[in-house]
């Protein structure tokens, strides 16, 4: 995700960070690191070789009506590459829908994504243009669930220090690089992303995304942050879509049964497994 994809882990749901700078004086880190270097650390923080978790997705419309989806997801790192798969468990009309993606570190390689709809009976490949679309009706997009493409963005500090929930944060603004602007905006839908990053663990705790279509702003919040098996994990993610300061729709993701580094078989990340289901 543009904010910090590991915080979603492409429905691998690993919300993780290692305290790389834990024992470093925070002011020293700020002085030494550029905004790009901070984002690189955000991108490189260990989130476990594998993860699995369950997620409850609550979709809330402007009138407060809620729709609930349950999913189970798995992620595995292959060096710098990542593979993720998620299965929808409820409600009935999306049961057994599956989403698989390969997130390649090599910028020259297009990420691979497939969506399996039981009614169609075969996995359907998704093109990059779909990535800015809503993921199953939520305020998160498919692009939100892919890893950060740092080299496609320019970053700068907006503020060197701001407290969020009592934690000192940098505020960093990212805009697509001029040369890649069309590609990035086409694929993500975002013109600009502002991130609040905790200095103690490089965890993105807040974000603001400027959506080109409809000129909307999406507000991202990561809360209920705790360490699981030594890995920082946000157990609640919120995305609120607004237009001209009016809330249009919200999505809350609640994570449960998060397990790291217990191994996930390679066969889990295949189109055949999408058909087979959990």
């Amino acid at each position: 995700m543009l904010l910090r994809s590991k915080s979603l882990g492409l429905l691998g749901f690993a919300t993780t960070f290692v305290l790389i700078a834990l024992f470093m004086p925070k002011i020293a880190v700020s002085q030494q690191l550029t905004a790009r270097e901070v984002m690189q650390k955000v991108d490189k923080v260990d989130d476990g070789e594998t993860s699995s978790s369950e997620m409850t997705m609550i979709l809330i419309d402007r009138r407060g009506n809620q729709r609930v989806r349950q999913m189970k997801g798995f992620r595995k790192d292959y060096g710098e590459d990542k593979k993720n798969i998620s299965f929808f468990l409820t409600p009935a009309d999306v049961r057994n829908v599956a989403f698989l993606s390969y997130d390649w570190d090599d910028e020259e390689k297009e990420d691979d994504s497939w969506l399996y709809l039981p009614a169609i009976g075969k996995p359907k490949r998704i093109s990059a243009g779909n990535k800015k679309d809503s993921f199953m009706g939520s305020d998160f997009t498919y692009a939100d669930m892919n890893d950060l493409e740092i080299n496609e963005w320019d970053y700068k500090f907006l503020k060197d220090s701001e407290l969020v929930e009592g934690k000192d944060c940098w505020i960093i603004e990212g805009v697509p690089k001029t040369a890649k602007r069309k590609k990035v905006v086409d694929e993500t839908g975002y013109l600009k992303v502002v991130s609040w990053i905790r200095k103690d663990n490089f965890f993105v705790v807040k974000g603001k995304m400027y959506v080109k279509k409809g000129k909307k702003i999406k507000y991202f919040t990561a809360t209920d942050i705790e360490q699981i098996q030594g890995i920082w994990t946000a157990k609640k993610l919120t995305m609120v879509t607004t237009k001209r300061n009016r809330k249009e729709h919200s999505t809350v993701l609640l994570f449960n049964k998060v397990i790291y580094n217990q191994g996930v078989d390679d066969s889990m990340f295949t189109v055949q497994r999408m058909e087979r289901g959990l």
């Binding site: 049961r95 390969y102 009976g121 805009v175 400027y210 080109k212 279509k213 609120v240 055949q272």
Partner: protein, 515 residues
């Protein structure tokens, strides 16, 4: 009125797409922004209308306070109904659907469908690698009672009024990660085309209502054994189909009867004959499928019965001078198919193709009646040795090229061009040497996927007509969806494929409750 569709439809298409933008929460003015020149970096103007506190043009309308978007939304977990999917190996579900179609183009416009459908599904997780599934589907169409059952042929009532069948009934599993077996009635979906059967030949299709049946509902399951061997991104499938089923065809006397022009005095068309379900008739298919970075590729081979029946000669009786009775019977011919399918992504584009060669296909001839006239000349006719040959055995090439474009947010435009060519073509064949069709599908989602719209446009080559369909669906709640739309058939040429259906236009709506 029908002729007007060709002119009106492109306008309607454009209007509908624009309307969908309006219907969504995005203004049309915003869409023009999507085509803006990206050659420059973001300007202040681009952010001027966001209404954000930190940018220009902020705060005119909304009720957010500073940082209002970062609210911590409290979720009352006690009131959220979640699944107990891990507590039980059984998951039960299904849906109930009520459909109403109104055929406004009839001479006497009337309801053509008042159909109640019940679908019940049971998934059973037998063990970690094994599962079973049972899916039953049944419907009853009250419109035939409403209009008077005496008005319809027995075949029509049998085909359209009610149905009950197990759509899936299988056990699926394996003892290793690289081998899997699936036994039972199932769907086997291959290929890339959303509109045609080129390499996707394992399951017959429901063709009872041209253009009305969605892809997901059109496949007819078959009892089969499917073996899958997996190695990374490579998959080898070997399939044996034990249950020989054909396409579900429109019945005699129904509004979509494909044999309307053949049914005439002196010709009897018997009931369809399907090959028996025995070991000799088992169908075989093999596919090798590989995913790679940026695309998928598959090659296949099949030795199956053609799902589309052909009319074969059964009997010719001379009733008297100038009077004969020719009896034909729909049968299914054994054919072989080999081909490949592939897709490739590039940015917002998904390119796809399928090619296949089909061997020993039965192609209808147009000289059957001439043959009858020739051999029934008094003094020549010999009822023991003379037969009519209503079809010829030919090989065919089929191909599809197409693309999907998803550069517009929440919208996908899909276009497929499909063509078929008959090898060693002869003039006595009833089909053209080359036939083609184009299928355009525009799909749009809005309101966080609670609203979906789809436009279909099927255009047959050689002036064989067009079919247009618009379908709108709205999820009132997750479990309850309402949909509506229209379908129109247009053909000017009396010989056109669609001409006999030109009065079958419908408006339709449905209500579906999933559980």
């Amino acid at each position: 009125m029908m002729n007007a569709y060709r002119t009106i439809f492109p306008i309607l298409l454009l209007f509908t797409i624009l309307s969908l933008f309006v219907f969504s929460t995005t203004a049309i003015a915003d869409t023009s922004d999507d085509t803006a020149d990206y050659s420059e970096t973001a300007t202040d103007d681009e952010f001027s209308d966001f209404g954000d506190e930190d940018e220009s043009g902020f705060g005119e309308e909304g009720d957010f306070e500073e940082g209002g978007g970062f609210e911590n939304i409290e979720i009352d977990l006690e009131n959220i109904q979640t699944s107990n999917y891990e507590d039980s190996p059984f998951i039960f579900g299904g849906f109930f659907k009520e459909e109403i179609d109104y055929s406004h183009a009839y001479e006497e416009p009337d309801f053509s469908k008042i159909k109640s459908t019940l679908n019940l599904n049971l998934d059973w997780k037998i063990a970690s690698r094994w599962k079973a599934k049972v899916n039953w589907n049944g419907f009853y169409d009250y419109s035939y009672t409403y209009r008077g059952r005496d008005e319809f042929t027995d075949e029509t009532l049998e085909t359209y009024e009610s149905e009950s069948e197990f759509r899936e009934f299988f056990v699926d599993g394996g003892i290793t990660d690289w081998f899997r077996i699936k036994i039972g009635r199932q769907f086997i979906a291959w290929g890339q085309s959303e509109s045609s059967q080129i390499t996707d030949v394992a399951n017959p299709r429901d063709l009872r209502e041209l253009g009305m049946v969605d892809l997901e509902d059109s496949r007819i399951p078959v009892a089969a054994t499917k073996l899958s061997f997996l190695s990374g991104s490579l998959e080898l499938n070997a399939v044996a189909i034990h249950e020989i089923r054909g396409n579900k065809m429109p019945s005699v006397g129904s509004e979509f009867d494909v044999l309307q022009d053949v049914r005439m005095p002196g010709i009897i068309i018997e009931d369809e004959e399907l090959p028996e379900n025995n070991t000799e008739n088992t169908e075989f298919l093999i596919r090798l499928f590989k995913t790679f970075n940026g695309g998928d590729f598959g090659i296949m081979w099949a030795d199956i019965y053609d799902d589309y029946p052909h009319l074969d000669f059964q009997e010719l009786a001379v009733m008297g001078p100038g009077s004969v009775l020719l009896t034909l019977v729909p049968e299914h011919k054994r054919i072989q198919t080999y081909g490949f399918s592939a897709n490739m992504v590039s940015g917002s584009w998904l390119f796809k193709t399928e090619m296949a060669r089909k061997l020993n296909v039965a192609i209808a001839r147009n000289d059957a009646l001439a043959q009858v006239s020739a051999i029934t000349i008094p003094g020549i006719y010999d009822e023991d040795s003379n037969v009519i040959k209503p079809w010829s055995e030919k090989n065919t090439h089929s191909g599809m090229i197409g693309f999907e474009y998803s550069g517009f947010q929440d919208m996908t435009i899909s276009l497929e061009a499909v063509a078929e060519r008959i090898e060693e073509y002869e003039e006595n064949l009833s089909s053209n040497e080359t036939s083609a069709q184009a299928v355009l599908i525009v799909s749009y989602s809005a309101l966080n996927d609670t609203f979906d719209a789809q436009l279909f446009w099927i255009s047959f080559s050689d002036n064989n007509g067009d079919v247009y369909r618009l379908n709108l669906e709205y999820d009132i709640i997750d479990a309850l969806a309402v949909s509506g739309g229209f379908i129109a058939y247009e053909a000017n040429d009396e010989d056109a494929t669609v001409y006999n259906y030109r009065n079958n236009d419908r408006v339709f709506m449905s209500l579906k409750y999933s559980f």
